[in-house]
């Protein structure tokens, strides 16, 4: 659980850097807050590209399946869970 919390915090910082979310600090992003769509952070497909690149660059993870990708990219928490699951493999 501690490992997940650390990863979530790290991810929030990385997202802020990659997406140029200068007006938001890590505490401003809820772990279970929607990243995309009208509710939540309101990210769009350009941001999704940045997250795909971030995961590849920092964690060696490539997400190819669109259906799977949508689920993984729901929240910072789901991204962290996916990274941890892949680490376990």
């Amino acid at each position: 659980m501690e490992e997940r919390n650390e990863l979530v915090q790290k991810l929030k910082g990385e997202l802020i850097d990659a997406l140029n979310l200068e007006e938001i600090d890590p505490e401003g992003i809820g772990t279970d807050e929607s990243l995309f769509g009208a509710e939540g952070l309101g990210l769009d497909s350009i941001d999704a590209l940045e997250i795909i690149l971030l995961l590849d660059r920092n964690y060696g993870i490539k997400i190819k399946n669109p259906a799977e990708g949508k689920e993984i990219f729901k929240t910072v928490g789901t991204i962290a869970d996916y990274i941890l699951a892949h680490k376990a493999e």
């Binding site: 497909s45 350009i46 999704a48 590209l49 940045e50 690149l53 997400i63 669109p66 949508k70």
Partner: protein
């Protein structure tokens, strides 16, 4: 919003079906003749499109009143001819056409590498005319299309499977993420992903550029994606030079780096597009206020 394309392409499902029928039963030249009449209808009954062509002629090309009146017809008719040609070529009649190539050798060498690449075009000429050339390589092509364009094409494909053989369509919806995964996956597989680099649906994500000496907005997505993924980019245009004659123009983009890489890529794109449009101004097929001239006109009036 004024200059934004509304997501619908002229010449959708019904138009394609009519021309396919005429081409098959009466021939390409008969379809041209029919088109020369059909376009007269569009001039008054497509007022937004006609107004856009008029502004393009008067303000961008700098034509006079009489020349602009003729140009409106010429622009519509040219679009109609391209529509006929793309249906005929996709329907297997490419043997009746003459194709010329510009920078063909460099493109062949490039495609033979079998690396993922981005092919960037625009709504000029008829990019579908090049389908037989790309199919020659057996290369998988992924065409990125906005949802409404895709829906129109899908309806036609149901009744005519010979259209767009082998092409895969990646539908783009600005509220969905699916296309981003499909595009990155296609590039990973070593396939080509084709974008039209001139239209946008998301007004929050734009790149500013200059085309034909006037500022305009372009979609950020294709340029950012190509730059970020480091995918090689080839600009591709198929221009109608004479009846049933097309010139395929290919140019590999110089590699771009740094934070302004998307802008640098766009600059290369607009530079080539500019060159092509000066040769073929009538083959500009964006029938909306691309340069946002209506809004700029109001601003000029207010300042005066």
């Amino acid at each position: 919003m004024a200059g934004e394309w509304e997501g619908k392409s002229r010449g959708g499902g019904t138009g394609y079906r009519i021309f396919i029928y005429v081409i098959r039963h009466l021939g390409v030249r008969a379809a041209y003749a029919l088109m020369s009449l059909v376009v007269i209808y569009f001039i008054p009954f497509s007022p937004k499109g006609t107004a856009a062509v008029w502004r393009y002629s008067r303000r961008i090309l700098g034509y006079g009143l009489l020349r602009s009146a003729c140009f409106v017809y010429r622009n519509y008719y040219s679009f109609g001819q391209n529509l006929v040609d793309r249906a005929a070529i996709s329907g297997g009649l490419q043997g009746r056409y003459r194709f010329k190539f510009e920078n063909e050798d460099s493109l062949r060498a490039f495609l033979d590498k079998k690396e993922g690449c981005v092919i960037m075009g625009a709504h000029v000429g008829s990019w579908e005319a090049g389908a037989p050339f790309f199919m020659e390589y057996g290369r998988e092509l992924n065409i990125v299309m906005y949802d409404n364009e895709h829906e129109a094409i899908k309806k036609v494909r149901k009744s005519n499977e010979r259209l767009f053989p082998g092409f895969k369509v990646i539908p783009v919806n600005k509220d969905s993420l699916g296309h981003v995964f499909l595009i990155t996956e296609a590039l990973e597989r070593g396939e080509a992903v084709c974008f039209q680099g001139d239209r946008y649906v998301n007004e929050d994500r734009l790149l500013g550029g200059v085309l034909l000496g006037h500022e305009a907005s372009f979609p950020l997505g294709p340029y950012l994606l190509a730059a970020k993924l480091g995918a090689p980019v080839v600009f591709y245009f198929a221009m109608r030079e004479a009846p049933m004659t097309y010139r395929f123009i290919f140019r590999q983009a110089a590699p771009v780096f740094g934070r302004s890489a998307p802008e640098k890529l766009l600059s290369q794109f607009t530079s080539l597009l500019d060159e092509i449009l000066r040769r073929h101004p009538e083959q500009w097929f964006n029938f909306y206020d691309f340069w946002n001239l209506k809004q700029h006109g109001r601003e000029i009036e207010r300042k005066a």
